[in-house]
């Protein structure tokens, strides 16, 4: 069977709560540098896990790719600790302020430079932007098919696989030829935790940093100025209501509330 090269796109998301959620071997704690507010989004961990499992069952390698500001090394290092073989950071001032199209463009330029790739994994949506648009758009720039909302993958041959696309109240089962871009859902797997060997593994690996000069890109398609969408304005949403507080003993509060809801005609009269 052919060995597979998987690429996993991971996004630095500013969510520190996330750090508390991974239980980490105390000995690898050095990797938790306080003050750097980036984390690997939960679905990106599922994407990485799927790629690692394929490497374990089929052989091959896993490359993680991220576009982000300096500091993003943190999540790439973390992905290596978990088992990724190589890591690429696409970082340049010119990439900043990108919408999903400009983000996908840069990620695809990095992936193209990696050469032969069989599978590209992403999370179905990021924790912060959550548009879910990057996967299909990376696929377009790479000229590959794409699948999103994937909850199951079966490798059925050297150049094809079967997958389950979750839709509202059901699913569509598909077969696809590789190379293909796959955005995964939470149900696809249970991501592993780091172990002590991860830190040892990570010591032998470094992160490749690529700037605008290292990838083939058209400058007009980068960053804020290369993004077709813009934020035209920001307004506050009016969510305020009367906020009438009910006080007293529990039974008393319950009585007051039911009465008020009856007056408002959202509960029936006795």
């Amino acid at each position: 069977m052919k060995e597979l090269h998987s690429v996993v796109c991971i996004k630095p998301v500013p969510d520190q709560r996330f750090w508390d959620k991974i239980s980490l071997d105390p000995k690898t704690q050095t990797l938790r540098r306080a003050g750097i507010p980036v984390a690997l989004g939960p679905l990106d961990l599922n994407a990485l896990e799927e790629a690692l499992r394929i490497k374990e069952s089929r052989g091959g390698k896993v490359t993680v790719v991220s576009m982000g500001p300096p500091g993003t090394e943190e999540i790439l290092e973390w992905a290596i600790v978990l088992g990724a073989d190589e890591a690429v950071l696409l970082s340049d001032r010119a990439f900043a302020g990108a919408d999903t199209l400009a983000t996908a463009y840069v990620l695809a330029s990095g992936i193209k430079k990696l050469g032969d790739v069989d599978l590209v994994f992403l999370g179905n949506e990021s924790l912060d932007g959550s548009t879910g648009q990057v996967g299909p758009q990376v696929a377009e720039f790479l000229g590959m098919s794409h699948l999103t909302h994937i909850t199951k993958i079966d490798l059925t041959g050297d150049n094809k696989l079967e997958a389950k696309f979750r839709i509202e109240f059901g699913s569509i089962d598909v077969e696809v030829k590789t190379p293909v871009v796959i955005a995964v859902d939470k149900e696809i797997n249970e991501p592993r935790l780091a172990n002590i060997w991860g830190a040892v593994w990570a010591q032998e690996r470094k992160i490749n940093c690529w700037s605008i000069n290292d990838v083939e890109v058209d400058r007009d398609k980068l960053g804020l100025s290369g993004s077709p969408t813009q934020v035209a304005g920001v307004t506050t949403i009016e969510l305020k209501r009367k906020g009438e507080m009910l006080t007293g003993e529990p039974a008393d509060i319950a009585r007051q509330l039911v009465k008020k809801l009856q007056t408002d005609k959202v509960l029936p009269e006795a």
Partner: protein
């Protein structure tokens, strides 16, 4: 493209039936078409589409572009995206709205990249600015804000629209749309994705998005054991159970069917009761159309109290049993 005309909406169909979100898009699409004084045009891909085309006329479409082919019976991103690109390049629409269902959010970004335009994601409102450009309202940026996303240079102006946020129009029996048949030259051999089959889950409980009473539990519920209290209160009210994001992450509630808010369901009940919910904007945008909002939270400073009609600053474990007791007196 640097120009375009007409408001297009993509009509998702499943099993030969037009989806609810497709009809909602005709509703908002009609409003936008009125603002720019252009036609409302529906795009339908499927197989044996005859009766669906009639429905689209009845629900307000001026034109229906229909591609009818066995290859299109079930959604296939390869086939749908290529076909949509061809259509857009041929007919040059000014705006294109796609539902932010799983299928729509799979299709729209690919199409946007193919025709090299921007895409506003998961909009919960739309407007048109003084230059006739589409403003997509996207909640987010961390705080209590709504960002207007615009695509100033490129056409079509594309957006995905959150299901459940827009109203469909009255059905007018016999109202007819002009029908444009689209030739499908694409064959299975030309594409990489092949549909093997579909499956459908049976609905067990009434979906939270159509329930008249919603009881939502938050992270403050504290555990699976306590979650039963949320369910008991919902039962006592003959309502459905919803959740914020953390309970879904913890596995107390189901992300797919129960999470309410920006990245989940939108609910429009007469009565919403939030238990142990802090009131993050991400959640509040999904409940703002509730007629009455009640919040029970032990922290009297929780932001949800500002967004509630009635607030109870107490431990939900003390209030809920009394409330269930009190409700028995009216339901008998």
């Amino acid at each position: 493209m640097k120009e375009g005309k007409g408001v297009w909406v993509f009509i998702e169909q499943r099993g030969g039936k037009v989806s609810e979100v497709g009809l909602e898009l005709l509703g908002i699409g009609r409003e936008l078409a009125g603002k720019v004084n252009e036609k409302l045009e529906a795009v339908l891909f499927g197989y044996q589409t005859g009766s669906m085309v009639d429905e689209l006329g009845a629900y307000g479409a001026d034109t229906v572009y229909v591609a009818d082919d066995p290859l299109l019976e079930v959604y296939n991103s390869d086939a749908y995206a290529v076909l949509m690109q061809e259509l857009i390049e041929q007919y040059k629409p000014g705006m294109m709205i796609v539902g932010a269902s799983n299928i729509g959010s799979d299709l729209a970004p690919r199409v946007a990249a193919k025709v090299n335009t921007g895409l506003s994601a998961h909009c919960i409102g739309f407007d048109v600015d003084e230059h006739g450009k589409l403003l997509g309202k996207v909640p987010g940026f961390g705080g209590a804000v709504m960002a207007d996303i615009i695509c100033p240079e490129d056409y079509p102006q594309m957006a995905t629209a959150r299901p459940g946020f827009f109203q469909k129009l009255e059905r007018v029996e016999g109202r007819k749309a002009d029908v444009v048949k689209v030739e499908v030259k694409l064959r299975q051999e030309d594409i990489n994705i092949k549909v093997l089959g579909t499956s459908k889950e049976e609905l067990t409980a009434r979906p939270v998005e159509s329930a008249d009473v919603v009881v939502a539990g938050g992270f403050g519920i504290g555990g699976e054991e306590n979650w039963k209290l949320v369910e008991e209160l919902a039962d006592a009210l003959n309502g459905s159970v919803g959740a914020t994001r953390p309970p879904c992450d913890e596995g107390w509630a189901d992300l797919e069917s129960q999470m309410i808010g920006q990245s989940g369901k939108t609910v429009r009940p007469s009565l919403y009761i939030g238990l142990g919910v802090s009131g993050a904007v991400h959640h509040l945008v999904g409940i703002q159309d509730s007629k009455v909002i009640v919040a029970i939270n032990k922290d009297s400073k929780a932001p949800i109290f500002e967004a509630a009609d009635y607030g109870i600053a107490a431990d939900f474990r003390q209030i809920v049993p009394s409330l269930i007791e009190e409700l028995k007196s009216i339901t008998g």
